[in-house]
């Protein structure tokens, strides 16, 4: 994919400088900071922070344990609700989740407790000599999980804990899903995603088979026939299109494609640098893309959004990060045409100015052009239809384009469950995917045990 940008220059900064630019955006707490911060927690009852955590971590309890110098106990409390608590501590938009709800997040109380940072502190320092959870006696049941992203991994871990054997079928080379391939590099640094997967697999009973693609070399009917249950954690594999001419021209690509390369790059200095860069969209992915390009050394990074600032999907915190990284925001402008140079490469984009007319977005009639070496689309992920190509999969009921599930993560076909971004339930967040996986595992377990009793 990055071939599409090969004509661009490389970053000017040296390796050290680049490494620094992509180190932890939020540096970890020191022991002293953790002690001070944990003592700020009021140990609420029916705590609003827990209510706001999609994975229902018992926050007052784990913070209390940090304060009590019981870091392993704190870590276990977190992991028992969220086995990917380490990455969630780093990537969760806490400003709209637990910390938003924290009772200390009001004018009189100064600031919320830094729940995410404390969670990271506990997990970074727990120092387990062995996997903290034990498996129940073998049930003899085998479950197929498709997709080794947060949803699939979380589901697999919980199933393994209940004594079932799990095989994860993963299309890509590495497990972790977007933790490995999508999260901004400065949020989840070095090989944390892989280390976390290894830790998770430490429970035993989980096998990951890479290069296995549902809808490619794998069919749902097969899995349904061979396993006692199937969980689909496919994520959103496709990217929305602009619907413009020359959308495939060199210089124009999906932000997620570039971020994937950036996360995998051993040498950041080898990445193509779009000195003048346009990012289309206003969600967190758009911000991630813009900020990372800025940190690589781009001089002129522009975020263009077809509506106003108030409508942006990115959280206020993310928007602040963008501002701190010299990202310029253009609102009320819609991509109108890709502008190419003589060699057929992107040289810029023409935008149509927009406005609300009777509550609907329309053009004002004005247009303007922005020059760019590259344009990144971050206008949303889509469900990849190829995954559900086989006849059984085609029968799955949908909720929009995504797979329909009930509160127990059951799809319309008995024995088949789904969770994470590929379903319409909840927000598209790592922590939400983890929760879905966990809930699905509990539902699968309950169902299988019911069947055992009935037999």
């Amino acid at each position: 994919m990055i071939d599409a940008l090969n004509h661009l220059p490389r970053p000017r900064a040296g390796a050290d400088q680049l490494a620094e630019a992509f180190s932890d955006l939020a540096p970890p707490l020191t022991a002293r900071q953790a002690a001070v911060e944990s003592a700020r927690c009021l140990y609420c009852y029916d705590a609003p922070c827990v209510n706001a955590c999609p994975s229902e971590i018992d926050i007052p309890s784990f913070i209390h344990r940090i304060s009590d110098e019981n870091l392993q106990g704190a870590a276990e409390r977190i992991l028992s609700a969220n086995i990917l608590g380490g990455s969630c501590a780093r990537v969760c938009p806490t400003e709209i989740l637990c910390q938003q709800a924290c009772v200390r997040n009001n004018a009189q109380e100064c600031a919320p407790v830094l729940i995410g940072q404390l969670q990271r502190y506990a997990l970074d320092h727990a120092d387990f000599t062995e996997h903290p959870f034990q498996r129940s006696p073998a049930s003899g049941k085998r479950i197929a999980v498709v997709g080794a992203g947060p949803a699939g991994l979380s589901c697999a871990h919980r199933l393994a804990m209940h004594g079932h054997d799990v095989v994860i079928f993963e299309a890509r080379e590495k497990a972790g899903g977007l933790n490995e391939y999508g999260i901004a590099r400065y949020k989840l640094v070095d090989d944390y995603a892989q280390r976390e997967v290894e830790f998770l697999l430490g429970i035993g009973g989980i096998e990951i088979r890479h290069g296995q693609r549902l809808g490619g070399n794998l069919s749902l009917a097969e899995l349904h026939g061979q396993y006692d249950a199937v969980f689909l954690g496919l994520g959103l594999g496709a990217v929305r299109q602009l619907g413009l001419a020359d959308e495939d021209a060199p210089g124009l690509l999906a932000a997620t494609d570039y971020i994937r390369e950036l996360r995998q790059a051993d040498d950041l200095a080898q990445l193509p640098l779009a000195d003048r860069c346009l990012v289309l969209g206003a969600g967190n992915t758009a911000i991630d893309m813009a900020v990372q390009m800025s940190r690589l050394g781009a001089r002129d990074v522009n975020l263009v959004y077809r509506r106003g600032e108030a409508d942006m999907g990115a959280t206020g915190h993310e928007q602040e990060i963008a501002k701190h990284n010299q990202v310029r925001l253009h609102t009320w402008a819609r991509p109108d045409a890709v502008l190419l140079d003589d060699a057929g490469r992107v040289r810029g984009m023409r935008f149509a100015r927009t406005q609300l007319i009777d509550g609907r977005l329309g053009d004002t009639g004005e247009t303007f052009e922005l020059a760019a070496d590259a344009i990144f689309k971050a206008i949303g992920q889509r469900f990849d239809e190829q995954g559900l190509g086989d006849p059984l999969a085609a029968q799955l009921a949908r909720d929009g384009e995504r797979i329909q599930v009930d509160a127990h993560m059951r799809t319309s076909i008995p024995g088949i469950y789904a969770g994470g971004d590929c379903t319409a339930l909840g927000q598209d967040l790592t922590v939400q995917a983890v929760q879905h996986g966990k809930l699905a595992a509990e539902a699968i377990h309950a169902q299988l045990m019911l069947n055992v009793e009935a037999a």
Binding site: A35, A39, Y43, C44, Y45, D46, P48, N51, A101, R104
Partner: protein, 424 residues
């Protein structure tokens, strides 16, 4: 500004803030720095007979609250470890250089009249303003028949006090140990012996914590430990009660009291004064923060007095004594009920779970549409215990409101439910 000066047991001082006999008053260097900082007086670190006491290493340990906040300190130090001669020489010089400050000399010698007869004239010759008898040291010295070993036996207290009144003309302040069952017995004994004042409390027997790896308590000396004396903020409630007990005891009415124990702010001092103290002494707070705290204490106390129209300390001294009584005289018909200020409430749920699990199930929790909870008092169930107000992190959020019951004052001695009520 209000006048903070005092005359306590005949001793004049520009303010009521004195440093207690302890390391802060161990030698001229410290005491001079303390006077420079503004302390109204000092009680010099306890003198004894030569040869001087010998101290061990280490000596202190602490009881911490959240965030390493020191609640209290425990120490196993003895009285001065310097010779009598050096101490007396320094005391003489300091008193000469600082004539307006109170300089009291703390003493502890064996429980024989000869020892007191020997040391008292030497102290008097320094020009010091008074003496304080250390009958309170709870560690080390009692094993040698001094300190708390004297303070725990009222007859000894009375006897030694009388010796001091006989062999010296200076005001005698008797410092009491809290390691007894009824502080009034000690105060009465001092009073009978002719004491000009009592000061209290000295430190409380304590072990602050145990090193669970080495299985030895703190402070650790080699691989052993011993109990020490507890002081600092945590002991204030104990000291306040003992001060009040003496202040309202008819047998010692009018006996000047110097309040000691956990004083660190002007408010602490004002509370001791309200319960009858004519001066206060401070040790731990100075040990934790240095002498500069006296400036804030003076400033805060004077401003508070100005706001309340108190021109001098005497104007409010002892005002809370009359309101301190025995349980049996409390008004059984009085009723207060908790009230939650919903605007101030941050929704932490602490009041609810406290009342639900351990009190009277009088705070309802209602689930709101957004998944959080609202809390409200069920007035009919509330017994007015104050627990919710105590656990609420927001000051002023829960208010205990007096109810108009329409019933007259009635105490337990009059209550028909009391089978032993006094016939009335």
């Amino acid at each position: 500004m209000a006048d903070l000066s005092i005359v306590f047991a005949g001793i004049k001082a520009p303010n009521p803030f004195w440093l207690a006999s302890a390391p802060p008053t161990d030698k001229a260097y410290n005491v001079v720095r303390a006077f420079e900082a503004g302390w109204g007086g000092v009680v010099w670190k306890t003198l004894g007979e030569d040869p001087a006491a010998v101290n061990v290493s280490s000596r202190y340990s602490a009881h911490y609250g959240a965030n390493r906040q020191v609640q209290g300190i425990n120490n196993i130090e003895l009285i001065t470890d310097r010779s009598l001669e050096i101490n007396l020489r320094e005391i003489t010089q300091v008193k000469k250089d600082w004539p307006d400050r109170a300089l009291i000399v703390s003493l502890m010698v064996p429980c024989v009249e000869e020892s007191w007869k020997f040391i008292l004239p030497l102290v008097e010759a320094t020009g010091a303003d008074g003496i304080e008898l250390n009958f309170g040291c709870p560690h080390g010295m009692p094993e040698r028949g001094m300190g708390a070993a004297v303070g725990q036996v009222p007859e000894y207290v009375e006897m030694v006090t009388r010796w001091c009144k006989t062999h010296c003309t200076l005001p005698v302040i008797v410092k009491l140990t809290p390691n007894i069952t009824d502080i009034r017995q000690s105060a009465r004994a001092a009073h009978r012996g002719g004491a000009d004042a009592v000061s209290l409390i000295n430190t409380i027997n304590s072990i602050t914590s145990v090193d669970l790896d080495r299985m030895v308590a703190h402070p650790i000396v080699g691989d052993q430990s011993t109990h020490g004396g507890y002081c600092g903020s945590a002991v204030k409630p104990i000291a306040l009660n003992m001060v009040a007990e003496i202040a309202r005891d008819p047998e010692t009415r009018g006996l000047p009291i110097c309040g000691i124990g956990g004083i660190g702010t002007w408010r602490d001092a004002a509370e001791f004064i309200a319960l009858g103290s004519g001066a206060v002494q401070v040790c731990t707070a100075a040990m934790l923060h240095g002498f500069r705290i006296v400036e804030d204490m003076q400033d805060g106390l004077a401003r508070w007095m100005d706001q309340h129209g108190h021109r001098s300390l005497e104007a409010f001294r002892g005002q809370a004594v009359g309101h301190t009584t025995d349980w049996k005289y409390l008004d059984i018909n009085y009723k207060s009920v908790a009230h939650i200020d919903q605007d101030a409430c941050i929704g932490c749920g602490r009041c609810h779970i406290a009342c639900e699990d351990t009190s009277h199930q009088a705070i309802a929790s209602t689930l709101k549409a957004d998944g959080t909870h609202a809390y409200s008092v069920i007035e009919a169930e509330c017994v007015g215990c104050n627990l919710c107000q105590i656990t609420c992190p927001v000051q002023g959020c829960i208010d205990m409101q007096a109810q108009d019951t329409g019933k007259p004052y009635m105490n337990w001695t009059q209550d028909p439910r009391n089978p032993y009520r006094e016939a009335g």
